[in-house]
């Protein structure tokens, strides 16, 4: 299953609902283009909802890091929401759980932005 994304606005926060696989190739490119597009429109509060992301490889992990740093470098914040166990485990073993702000409740994630 390839990756699909759709974006919506909640109280000034852009929530990106992702589904499928974030892997080398199309999945990583879609995520990169989506985040760049959001930032180019001036939206700097971003939540990636990964509830339906069932697989991610090292390239996908790299793309999450890239999205995080790109957003931060533009004065914004990017948070992760609703990680599946597989993605959660990967962020744990790569120590990226300490880098990302990970939420498991959408309303709380939206409220957490400054």
């Amino acid at each position: 299953m390839t990756m699909k994304v759709s974006s919506r606005q909640v109280d000034g926060v852009t929530i990106v609902d992702c589904s499928g696989r974030i892997t080398l190739g199309e999945g990583s490119v879609i995520l990169r283009d989506t985040v760049r597009d959001i930032l180019s429109k001036g939206n700097k509060k971003i939540v990636l909802n990964l509830q339906n992301v069932n697989y991610i490889d090292s390239s996908g992990i790299g793309e999450l890091v890239s999205a995080f740093t790109t957003t931060k470098n533009q004065g914004g914040e990017l948070k992760l929401l609703n990680l599946t166990k597989k993605v959660n485990d990967l962020l744990q073993i790569t120590k990226l759980y300490t880098v990302f702000d990970v939420k498991d409740d959408e309303a709380a994630a939206v409220k957490s932005f400054k």
């Binding site: 080398l24 890091v65 740093t69």
Partner: protein, 150 residues
């Protein structure tokens, strides 16, 4: 494809399709060997990462270079061998992705993940390519400790 009773091997193009293909084959064979769901995921992801390295970093997507992928059941081990025809990986340049200065790098986690998921990871670079051997002990056998020899 070449097949023997306990070994199957493939010669594949240096393409993105090969990466997905290798992962799918690993999933099927690991499942057939009786590995549990989590172990199948670990094996398939390790094979995916190894194939990414072969296609991307080894062969650099060259249409003239092939990736050889072999799955073998030997005794209590499931052995996967991935060979590329690139210039040979420089093992001294493999970063530690857990080091604070590397945490926010966007690449360099593939070998780390392979070592996390497999019982043995051997990397043998040469001027004519790199051979990667991934070993997972078959369910019910002692892992004998994780080891990453180079």
């Amino acid at each position: 494809m070449a097949m023997t009773e306990q070994r199957v091997s493939y010669t594949l193009d240096s393409s993105l399709e090969t990466i997905d293909n290798a992962e799918q084959k690993a999933t099927i064979i690991a499942t057939e060997l009786g590995f549990g769901e989590d172990e199948v995921m670990q094996i398939s992801m390790a094979v995916r990462e190894g194939t990414v390295n072969a296609v991307l970093h080894g062969n650099a997507y060259s249409p003239d270079k092939k990736v050889t992928l072999a799955f073998e059941r030997t005794g209590n081990d499931f052995v996967i061998t991935i060979r590329d025809q690139g210039p040979g990986m420089d093992l001294s340049k493999i970063p530690n992705p857990l080091a604070p200065e590397n945490l926010l790098k966007t690449s360099g986690r593939g070998i780390f993940l392979m070592r996390s998921f497999m019982d043995v990871v051997e990397i043998r670079p040469s001027k004519t390519g790199t051979e990667l051997k991934l070993i997972k002990h078959v369910h019910g056998t002692s892992a004998g400790g994780k080891e990453a020899s180079q």
